[in-house]
Assembly symmetry: C2
Homo-oligomer: 663 residues x 2
Amino acid sequence: MPSHAPGPIDLARLQEVLDGPWSAVRDAHRRHLDARFLPVHGETGDQARARITRLLAELPVELGTSAAFPTEYGGQSDVGASIVASEMLAQVDLSLMVKSGVQWGLFGGAVVALGTRRHHDAYLRDIISGKLLGCFAMTETGHGSDVQQLRTTCTYDPRTQTFDLHTPHQAARKDYIGNAARDGRMAVVFAQLITGGRRHGVHAWLVPIRDAQGNPLPGVTIGDAGLKAGLLGVDNGRITFDHVTVPRDMLLDRYGQVAPDGSYSSPIENDSRRFFTMLGTLVRGRVSVGGAASAATKSALTIAVRYGDIRRQFGTPGADREVLLNDYLAHQRKLLPALATTYAYHFAQAELVAALHDAQRGDGPVDEHQQRELESRAAGLKAAQTWHATRTIQLCREACGGAGYLAENRLPGLKADTDVFTTFEGDNTVLLQMVAKGLLTGYRDEFGSLDGWGRASFVADQVREMVLERTAARSLIQRLISAVPGRDEEVAVTDRGWQLKVFEDRERHLLEGAIRRLRGGANTKKDHPFDIFNDVQDHLLAVAAAHVDRVTLEAFVAGIESTPDPAVQELLSRVCDLYALSVVESNKGWLLEHGRLTPARSKAITSVVNSLLKELRPQLRTLVDGFAVPAAWLDCAILREEPDRQETMAAHDAAGDPRTVPA
Amino acid sequence: MPSHAPGPIDLARLQEVLDGPWSAVRDAHRRHLDARFLPVHGETGDQARARITRLLAELPVELGTSAAFPTEYGGQSDVGASIVASEMLAQVDLSLMVKSGVQWGLFGGAVVALGTRRHHDAYLRDIISGKLLGCFAMTETGHGSDVQQLRTTCTYDPRTQTFDLHTPHQAARKDYIGNAARDGRMAVVFAQLITGGRRHGVHAWLVPIRDAQGNPLPGVTIGDAGLKAGLLGVDNGRITFDHVTVPRDMLLDRYGQVAPDGSYSSPIENDSRRFFTMLGTLVRGRVSVGGAASAATKSALTIAVRYGDIRRQFGTPGADREVLLNDYLAHQRKLLPALATTYAYHFAQAELVAALHDAQRGDGPVDEHQQRELESRAAGLKAAQTWHATRTIQLCREACGGAGYLAENRLPGLKADTDVFTTFEGDNTVLLQMVAKGLLTGYRDEFGSLDGWGRASFVADQVREMVLERTAARSLIQRLISAVPGRDEEVAVTDRGWQLKVFEDRERHLLEGAIRRLRGGANTKKDHPFDIFNDVQDHLLAVAAAHVDRVTLEAFVAGIESTPDPAVQELLSRVCDLYALSVVESNKGWLLEHGRLTPARSKAITSVVNSLLKELRPQLRTLVDGFAVPAAWLDCAILREEPDRQETMAAHDAAGDPRTVPA
């Protein structure tokens, strides 16, 4: 058992740790975004879209929403600030966050990353100011998760020196495109580049889609995705191109150029490699979505925890104190592990943002291995954080009972708006497969590609010797693990080194097993190449999940190590115990199967978790207050209507009846 | 491994089994409810309410929605039919289902069950016809799950021979009340009965709340719960009474009478026992909600499974066949166990409906033990089915990717509308505590009460010797279990007897452990009575979950036994294997800890589950088609827009590129 109960916490110290290096960006949001920017309930889709478009234009420049743009065009060349700004906007209004992400992240980001000087000079200032609103037209109806195979074509004709952009059939229409149904004037359109009768793979063009009056241009058909589960303020639409003429210089040609005569050239020979390099520059979107999901989770937990400290459940027979919802073990079992996991992802996300910021700041050549590792981490943490958000916001809604179902209490909006995050900017299941692939191949070559998974030769060729790479505080973590004595049974389950070892061990063992099974399959299933991969798909997803867990725990440990205030450090250390042991608890089946836990130790973990819940119960409120979500952003009826406790306690006493459960 | 792959299935035979004894009610719904009754997307709250109120009046009499009412007033005295009608309505529009449940189940049902002849004569015909719309005003803002302690008072004055109905403070206002915000003319109001200066516990009155023009009556203040996450067509509201005069004869006085002089009498002496008897008559609501949740789950699964048979994910390298979403192991791992569990709950629900129907049909005295057991089963299955619905509909939404987020594809509506089911008609966590209590006390005395959980003397007094009661096919199940040889390791994990034994064993062991811990707590925690209960709350919830799992498996086994068609029986048997082994798999941690599984056997179960998925893959479509949700009720854009497969396959071939994963 942990020996020191956390002492009194100076909330400002805790907030400092959580706010991190971009605290100024966070504070700017807290200061500048008032009730005017909060969600409005009961709007029609049209009203919501009109309001969000208006608010997008009114976002104060201080927020840093477009900070990632180059300084020379009015940005700050500050990638970290732009991601943190997304996280903060997500606590205000998720439609506003997504709308701004489409405009400045996807659309603007693609122009920066895939375009060259002439595109930047011509468009970036208007994109940053919001004068030119645009779309990111990649996904197609029939090929959501298979971008490299998208069907839209863009064919160069040297006689006219123009491209012909065309949607060959319905399954190739661009679908779910943000900013398309109402506001977008231009779109970055992804299509197969064809010139001189040859295909050169997917490229992007900057294509006008509406005129100044907002009418679709000739050859461009724009549909409306219609009502969605949430994000009503975002105008998702569908775009079809019927032989639309695109001038040669509208090809975003950083990674592939077409000369007037139609000859093609590129700094990257291999089509597939070029494709993934192009996509790699867009990793920021995934990091933003993961962070936004966690930010919304923090809002939901703040609401549920505060409500649980107000709301009484049943009277306590014979007790002299009032029992609140948060006092119940079952309630703590719901909220506290979810809260601890949210803390863990917070540190993992912060580390990822810093790493991405550093990588994209440098002007030197990008280390390919490092870039792939970063993309993998972004994919894994996006999947983990968005699934965690879906689960946790649901749990918070239920923890608030019927009140959690009312729009006025914010939880329905948080739930509905974040729901799509698990399947957009990459479907989570597909993303975790990418993570597993990266681990198997050591992030070499065509990282994102699932090509060849089914080839019998794949495993022998590709799978490297297994080395787990540490992302954070490498030496600290090695030291902690090394300090664990040989016999696990002698170590407390709250020993950090033991926890790190269990996480690492689980990942390593799962990965080794996957390699073994893939090798075996490659030998025995030559005639059924699809099955080689498919028969171990659940195993590969488990590898990826174990990897994300390990990366997350290591980031949490590194974050605690660099926390200056001792009381805050102690509190975070208990929260980290709860996170680590919750993960162990939910994987205890696997750990017992593989002799990583004895039955006795496994049972002990359940009771240590329960003790941690008791120990952390008094700090529940502090833990959510550390997120520092402004009161104005949590304007919920249930947090306002605090029932008069004096009265109800008196009534309880007067009633004198046994307390009972209900219908 | 299972030895026989299921043969070709005659869909009509499968549907027959699933439709069960009230197939005529199901068919009437399928025949009479056309597109006019389906949800409309993008309505305002007011529009949705107006439409649902109109449709409520237009529901064809053939449906049996009000079948539970006594024959003499125009009903059919057919409780089973009314529950099955709710299940069917839930597949059409959940607002309509809830609205009709409020009117004919809660409001009308309370008048039948708690009122006497004069109330029946005066009101039942108008209630059945929908001429008199009413509310069920039980829940209060401050005491959602503690009905016995609700604060509204109704005080008799012999001088005026009237009651004074009063809301003493804001926390006592009636909240989340369906039919209140717009339509209700009367309400069954639950309040503390006071006469002659004495309290006699909670009773119910029939109270007019609006005049003929729809204006609140004097002293009655009606608020609007406003926009909700879903169920927009239901007008939930809040009612406050300011010394409202209620005539003496409006007390629903079946279980408690007040004479003109104010003297109180009741056929049931004990206040608490009377209270639970009164509530017990309302068990139908919970059974309807559980069934409705499963019905919505069936719709969602039908959509996701059909979509997964249309949608291709990636091209298959070197394969000569087209790979569909449903071919992926990860996709099967999501959909198939959820589908198998839906089948299992289907049989458990059907058994419960039949049992309730039989119990409420008889005019003889109700066996109290049996009644409590029925209430417990209703509570447990309501919790299990509604949580399963929330999880599964979410999973279906994600399985459909971005398309699952569009309102036109029905999943957002199914998700949002069913979400509240986990916390209404009894919060699921509270319901599972009731189930555990029933098991501990053998359903004796004050079943629903949590009174005394905290008393040191409780456990010694109350906890009986443990006997698990079998609900269905008792002799069959005993025979199957007895046939299992002594050494588990020698039995196939698909042996039904072994599965039943594991389920029973888990329940028994958890229950014994809970008793032991409660006894221990009663001795050592005398000074902290709340902790005696609270420290084992997670254990008690596990007991309840294990009980529901066991009851569900037994019902599934009984259902298979009585299936006449051999091919259908064989198919159901495989589905039952998948259900049973999915439950074992998700509890393998506990089973390994307690020596119920060896590590080798535990690992084997994972691969048997994967084999079952492969085996059932060809039957996926059949399994959802068995639910027989009419095509008109599943009018989803994604099921209409089947992309041209010929074309896309050709394009795949032409591209010749490696297939890759996406951004």
